[in-house]
């Protein structure tokens, strides 16, 4: 793969509701801020990829709302409707195909629609939708399958909530920084067994943008370029019953491919920090297994043994993760951005010292059906 790098990033503060901002406002502000971060002008951008979701926005062709705001008035533009990691991958492919600087910008406002109806919409209209399945109840199914197979308790996964909400206290942009105990999590409202309120990510408004540049453009960048070493995605089967929900095989395949591209053979040793998509607490250990950091069923041991805490050898979600701020589709892009900040040394209080290689991860579809894995480094 040719050498390409991320040279500009921007994120909004993540909040429950941004009443004063339209999608246009959010995308414009992120475009503007990412350009400033990269030290570029809008004329340096030769193509744009926007990321949005028609159901979230209540608007078919949701990309129509933001093309102008992303500075794409007379430029090549496209739109991916899926998690930010996938859209950013498309942006990267465009740079590899000859564009100079791709702007990738994602937005969503969870506050403006009915999330239950919106996520119910991802289930099959004929066989599943009338069951009322939506993101929380379907994830509860996966949580049960996973926890049952490996004898993981609710107290075990509560540890993820404690860690990540505490990490969020170091992230000025996070929506839910909290000091919690396992007891707090256990006593929070049961929403869909085994998931309780504090096992779930919040509803959030926000936007984010990155600029991906070709190798010969990187010298213009104001800050340290972060090189994209490996990216891959893979989708599992669709019907929940056709999948082994406790076995993230699509993630495993994507990770394997991304590691091969990046020349990584021992992920636990060679990766310094991980930002993964923990929409629910049980997902963190499950995805860590899929990412080949440990054997199946042992993901939670990594946390219990202090491996994935801020002081451990492999901090996971120093930003507070998706549990602390969940803007649908933007959250994957935020994972990439947090990784970039780590590798630049700009992560402030949440900095993992000496981080050289980072992994960012995003999911798409029900119960993490499709995964996208990014490996980045500050070494060329």
């Amino acid at each position: 793969m040719d050498k390409i790098a991320i040279i500009g990033v921007a994120q909004t503060r993540y909040e429950r509701r941004k009443k004063d901002k339209t999608y246009y406002d959010l995308v414009y502000e992120m475009t503007r801020d990412a350009l400033v971060d990269a030290g570029l002008q809008i004329s340096d951008i030769d193509n744009v990829v926007t990321i949005s979701n028609d159901f979230m926005d209540g608007r078919t062709i949701s990309s129509m709302a933001v093309g102008d705001a992303a500075g794409a008035y007379d430029k090549n533009i496209s739109t991916v409707e899926g998690d930010g990691t996938f859209g950013a991958f498309y942006g990267a492919m465009r740079v590899l195909s000859g564009f100079k600087n791709t702007l990738v910008v994602a937005h969503a406002k969870g506050s403006e629609g009915d999330n239950k109806i919106i996520t119910n919409g991802m289930f099959d209209p004929i066989y599943q939708r009338h069951l009322g399945l939506e993101s929380i109840s379907s994830s509860a199914l996966q949580a049960n399958a996973y926890m049952d197979r490996y004898h993981i308790s609710e107290e075990d996964i509560a540890l993820v909530s404690v860690k990540n909400h505490a990490n969020a206290k170091n992230n000025p942009l996070a929506q839910m920084p909290m000091s919690l105990t396992v007891d707090d999590v256990m006593r929070s409202n049961k929403i869909a067994d085994p998931l309780k309120l504090l096992d779930c990510s919040p509803i959030s408004d926000g936007a984010a943008a990155i600029i991906i540049a070709a190798e010969d453009q990187v010298e213009k960048a104001k800050k340290k370029p972060i090189w994209i070493k490996g990216v891959a995605h893979c989708s599992d089967n669709y019907f929940l019953g056709d999948r082994d929900l406790a076995d993230p095989r699509a993630l495993r395949k994507a990770a394997k491919k991304a590691y091969a591209m990046a020349g990584i053979t021992k992920p636990m040793e060679e990766i310094d920090v991980v930002e993964l998509y923990d929409a629910f607490t049980y997902m963190e250990p499950l995805w860590l297994e899929g990412l080949d950091f440990c054997d199946p069923g042992t993901g939670i041991e990594l946390l219990k043994n202090g491996v994935t805490t801020m002081n451990g050898p492999l901090p996971v979600n120093p930003s507070g993760g998706v549990l602390s701020a969940h803007v649908v589709h933007v959250a994957g892009l935020a994972r990439i951005i947090e990784s970039v900040l780590q590798l630049r040394g700009e992560a402030g209080d949440r900095q993992v010292n000496g981080a050289k290689t980072a992994l960012a991860h995003g999911i798409n579809g029900p119960c993490g059906q499709s995964h996208c894995v990014w490996v980045m480094s500050n070494q060329k």
Binding site: K18, K19, D20, K21, T22, Y24, D25, Y28, R32, I42, F55, G58, D68, A69, G71, Y73, D74, K109, S111, E112, G113, D114, I117, I118, P125, I126, R129
Partner: protein, 163 residues
């Protein structure tokens, strides 16, 4: 070939769920509606670079990619640049009911603005409406206004334009 006889064994499933949304209007848009409610007047916004005036006011001038701040008061009338008389029935997704037809979809260039304002013109006779005619806005009763495009009832053709 599939015929009506097959329809008994080929089933269908209906889906009819309303999907509620609550969109933010934004800072400039909100100001536009407040001006309509308080003063029954249009405001636009000017781009410092290309000097184009947009109505309703917007945050960014897309070709210049510049943020806009200078609000401009505009007259309540303009010129028809294009129109179409809609004659076929359809369900309005905002209400779930059929929108009354025929109605005239109009593109109006408000005097002093450089872009087009889309709204309804209350003339549905093709013999009586033409591109280039002057039209003026007709507003709802102030007490009925909600901060919505429908606060402008419609545009009507001016009998003696230029007055």
């Amino acid at each position: 070939m599939v015929t009506e006889r097959d329809y008994n064994r080929l089933l269908t499933l209906s889906f009819d769920t309303p999907m509620p949304y609550e969109w933010s209007v934004g800072i400039h848009g909100s100001r536009f509606f407040h001006e309509i409610k308080k003063h029954q007047r249009f405001i636009g916004i000017r781009c410092p670079e290309c000097q184009k005036v947009y109505v309703p006011p917007r945050r960014v001038c897309a070709p210049c990619f510049k943020e806009l701040h200078e609000l401009v008061v505009l007259p309540n009338q303009g010129t028809i640049r294009a129109f179409s008389i809609v004659n076929y029935p359809f369900i309005d997704p905002d209400t779930g009911r059929q929108r009354p037809i025929p109605y005239t979809y109009g593109y109006i260039q408000i005097e002093g603005a450089d872009n087009i304002f889309s709204h309804i013109i209350n003339e549905t006779d093709i013999e009586k409406i033409e591109v280039g005619m002057q039209v003026r806005a007709v507003f709802k009763a102030k007490t009925d206004m909600q901060g919505h495009m429908s606060d402008i009832l419609h545009f009507e053709i001016m009998e003696n334009p230029g007055v």
